[in-house]
Symmetry: C2
């Protein structure tokens, strides 16, 4: 593939990204309108004003925004070529135009029809239904992925996540980067040996996107079997963050490609550094954006009495969360990262302010949507393997991909575990490392990233390889139960599996005691003072400032801030917060960040009564979240 | 507009419908895959088989179906024209092709790009964001409307609906038809007087689509004020069915146009009769389809133990309901009618079989989705009035439309009320008639119908007029409170309104006694024996056969069927049904069809404890469903 055509591909990439940005802005516009409507409706109801229904408000706001768009925005450049059925079209661009206008003489009148660019044509045959059985990749990105990722954050078992934070961050950031570059490198090297010749950038792109692991199968089985909580936290935490990292890596590689293509020859290093800078910029900004949106929702739910109207409350929650995704996408950041951290903040702060109905409703809603969308994606991967018109079956590439995946995962898990074990206490035992190595399935995220851009042949090859890899690893995921037994990893909970571990009835409803934490006095936090200090610092700040500010829980800011700030503190304390029973302390003490010295104690007992229900993932006696009753119901 | 170009428009119509059918088939395919997955997962869980996760199953089923599509379907005819940047394209069709293929020489390679038809170009300017702030009309039809309509059926207050069934059917069928033809006729007549010249068919099309009333605003206010239950039932019932009728009318008029255009000159009458036949065929088939899907869900939930897994149960419920819409659309019936009756069946039968969690979850889910989608549509109407590129501002047409709407509603409500009052007892008082006349707002359905096809200028004019009408009537809806007071219609429930009616605290939580039913012994059912007999017949059949067959309620078929059928009856009776406490009779006795002589008694007392919660719409002390707690929660 020539450099010129590669540059063209990059320009096409840009075009697609621009289109995506506009789509996001567009959806965001409506989300903002709905948020405004919800808040206004609440105000109306609150003040008992009845002269306008919510639909009327929605419409009026819509009119205002529509008028603004119409009369203020400047026409942006859409290229189109006019094609007359009887004359020569003329067009001099190097990229295909966005639109073709087709002039036709229809009987008596002249009419013009618009045609929108849908992509490159490779195969000049293909049937209509097959082409139709594929969806616009934008739908995956804008509609299907956000709830899955949000749900991951919202139902994150935060206590165990934060206890293993250092290791998780290490695997997610360093591990994913290693994996991406190893896979890209191996794939490129194989390419030189075999007939196929993918470009280095395509290989790296492939490496980055295929490094997003998807543990749904594994985690469902972990849930069923109630495996060790720390192993669960490591696998779950790694995969959640690793999606985010992989997505940002993909963006960074695209950026590098662009910078590289436009820079003069000597500036490779600068392009590389710029790409790294962009990586951190994108990740941190997205993280901040998501957190800010989560905190904003917490403030809204704390200081308005919207909790009197659970339907409005749930709507606001949903709209704010989705907006965090859309804002990030519209601002050229990554929505996935934003929506993930938004979900974590919503669970950590906002959840505490919600009414009981809204708690059940939001949990149930996301659980249901998550279940449906996840299965939809996998159905779709299956169908599209046969019907998607742009598959490029390069069997050498696919075969090599399995090998490079293996190598990439190997060089990610074992060296990092070794490094971590140097300082970490409790250590990650070897059988856990094997399980983590084997838990590296690929799923929805990798597929969604791959299908997003299939304009060039290289990208189409990547899509095909990704589909195959996802299909193989997901189907293989069913073997996990056997693997767990084979690796001797302690499982418990269900009668037919725990005979060997000999747990009694009471313990069955809790996560089994970790082999890593076999010594109840293991003071992991103290053995690693530096990490502990950082986490403790945040934990103290969170307890003293963030929670009192953002939630209705006690203590209030009046109690935690110094005397001089009391006027401000009074302003930021809601009446509800002041009047509520002091026994009704922050609801998720059992779920919060690593707090004080109890960090190394097992929190299993605290889970069972936690209103947060995140504990359910391990304590529920049934499988996969599919079977647990709405967790907060017991508090109604 | 010439006949030839009108024929072309009809052909284009066909093309759009074909596209829609394919879209529906497409979505349906995935729904079927998901249903299969859900059922298989349930079976796996039920039998404690763990070797495959649901995502794996979804993928495997997807692969199978994808392969089937790929290797069995025959390529259908998609037209495309190849456009070379340097040579003449040739195309001889009378319709624009579906795709243009654009051949370009890009630096070193030749590449071909596909462009898809998006519509006619009227205005050769227009900016990108504005064009983007509009969605594909298919999204309205396939995604946004179904939950709204389903929720109308699912939360239908069936007792009062069935008590007024005769009047509601009369208003819905005869009234809507009158309205459509009056509006079409008046609009056409005005057209002859003014400068604009819409075709008669376009006028009728407009009449039919604008006859779909949308009472969300009115009903929300009725809920707030707890107006008379019979008035509520009439307005709600009319508007729910009337959407269905209007949609089928629109289809019938399109069919007529097609038949008319293709028939020889003398066959107008035949085309007309055929269109009428089609109307009834489409309505009845859609009704049947929806009911069958509802009953199928009831059977599935009765005879499988899927209720042990509420998440799977809710997913199945949702997927089956949505499939009823898609099957109807794919079979050229109307999905709206199907999904409406599916909703009614789900509430009447399936709801009884659901687990408590699934009851709360489905109610909550649809309430939330309904709230969001409804407000989204109205926001969209507002924005698109300014940004939709295909508006045709024909102010004469719009002005006349308001007059014809007024006349159409006038000739619908008052004559039919007069006719009904001849036989009906209790009668519909005049102030109720005024309220019904004024309650004829237009909303989401009319807009969705109008935006669905905007290929021709006539249709674009209709869209613009519809948007304006919707905007005006929805905003005007806020005046209803004043209207109710002005018309002296009894309202009650909230302290600030009921001082005049002098209701005591206890009565406030119930609907006020109807002025129509002021005589407690009024035996409306007996005064109108013919109607009563029909309804009674169905009610008996329902109690003796349908409920025992489809739900887990007592009595069982063993008790209701004659001795000779007992082997079959045993087969159709679930263990749960046999073993459950007899005191746990069919849950919604208070909500069921008109049963025996209690038909004319007030059911208000029965509502408050009804598990069905539909009574909530009138008994809940707060507004618009937004404020009520999840109704079934009290039963958990």
């Amino acid at each position: 593939m020539s450099l010129a055509s590669e540059r063209n591909d990059i320009e096409l990439d840009e075009k697609i990204k621009e289109q995506h940005r506009i789509d996001s802005l567009n959806l965001l516009l409506y989300m903002m309108l709905l948020i405004t409507t919800v808040l206004t409706v609440w105000m109306f109801k609150h003040r008992r004003m009845r002269y306008m229904h919510e639909t009327g408000l929605a419409l009026v706001f819509g009119l205002v925004v529509g008028a603004l768009i119409r009369y203020t925005s400047v026409p942006s450049a859409i290229s189109h070529v006019e094609v007359k059925a009887v004359s020569h079209p003329t067009y001099n661009g190097t990229l295909p135009p966005d639109y073709l206008w087709y002039h036709m003489k229809r009987k008596l009148e002249n009419r013009t029809y618009a045609y929108r660019l849908t992509g490159e044509v490779e195969d000049l045959t293909g049937n209509q239904f097959a082409q139709q059985a594929t969806f616009d990749p934008e739908i995956f990105f804008n509609i299907i992925l956000p709830p899955i990722i949000f749900n991951a954050g919202y139902s994150l078992k935060r206590k165990f996540f934060f206890r293993n934070l250092g290791s998780i961050l290490c695997f997610a950031f360093i591990g994913t980067t290693i994996s991406a570059f190893v896979i890209g490198g191996v794939q490129y090297t194989f390419g030189l040996l075999f007939t196929y010749k993918p470009s280095l950038l395509d290989c790296l792109y492939f490496g980055a996107l295929i490094s997003a692991t998807d543990p749904v199968t594994i985690l469902a089985i972990f849930n069923d079997l109630h495996v060790d909580v720390n192993l669960y936290a490591l696998v779950f935490g790694e995969s959640v963050l690793n999606d985010a990292v992989a997505i940002v890596l993909v963006t960074a590689i695209e950026n590098y490609a662009k910078l590289y293509a436009t820079a003069a020859d000597g500036f490779e290093a600068i392009a590389f550094l710029k790409a790294i800078g962009l990586f951190f910029y994108v990740f941190c900004s997205s993280f901040l954006l998501g957190s800010v949106m989560g905190c904003a929702t917490a403030l809204l739910t704390k200081f308005t009495h919207i909790r009197d109207f659970p339907l409005l409350e749930s709507s606001l929650f949903l709209l704010m969360s989705y907006s965090s995704f859309l804002i990030a996408e519209a601002a050229d950041l990554t929505g996935i990262v934003a929506v993930l951290f938004c979900g974590i903040c919503q669970a950590h702060y906002t959840y505490n302010n919600l009414s009981d109905e809204a708690r059940v409703r939001t949990k149930d809603f996301f659980e249901l949507i998550n279940f449906l969308t996840e299965n939809f994606i996998f159905s779709y991967i299956g169908v599209s393997l046969f019907t998607f018109p742009k598959h490029q079956w390069d069997f050498a590439f696919i075969g090599c991909a399995f090998i490079s995946l293996f190598v990439g995962r190997l060089l990610n898990i074992y060296p990092l575990s070794w490094l971590l074990n140097l300082r970490r206490n409790p250590k990650i035992p070897l059988n856990f490392q094997h399980m983590m190595f084997l838990a590296g399935l690929r799923g929805a995220i990798a597929f969604a990233l791959a299908i997003r851009n299939t304009y060039s042949v290289g990208r189409q090859t990547i899509l095909t390889a990704t589909s195959i890899i996802v299909a193989v690893t997901v189907v293989y995921g069913g073997l996990t139960t056997q693997l767990l037994l084979w690796l001797g990893i302690p499982v418990g909970g269900e009668a037919e599996e725990d005979e060997t571990t000999g747990l009694n009835q009471m313990q069955r409803t809790r996560p089994v005691y970790s082999t890593m934490d076999a010594r109840p006095n293991a003071t992991g936090a103290r053995d690693n003072p530096e990490k502990a200090r950082l986490v403790r610092l945040w934990s103290n700040f969170d307890t003293a400032f963030m929670k009192p500010l953002l939630t209705n829980a006690r203590p209030t800011l009046l109690e935690t801030l110094p005397m001089c700030c009391h006027p401000l503190a009074r302003l930021l304390t809601s009446t509800q917060q002041l009047t509520q029973d002091t026994s009704n302390k922050y609801d998720d003490d059992g779920e919060g960040f690593l707090e004080g010295d109890d960090a190394s104690l097992h929190g299993a007992g605290g889970d069972s009564g936690s209103i947060h229900s995140n504990g359910r993932q391990m304590t529920a006696p049934d499988a996969a979240g599919a079977t647990s009753p709405p967790p907060a119901a017991s508090h109604m």
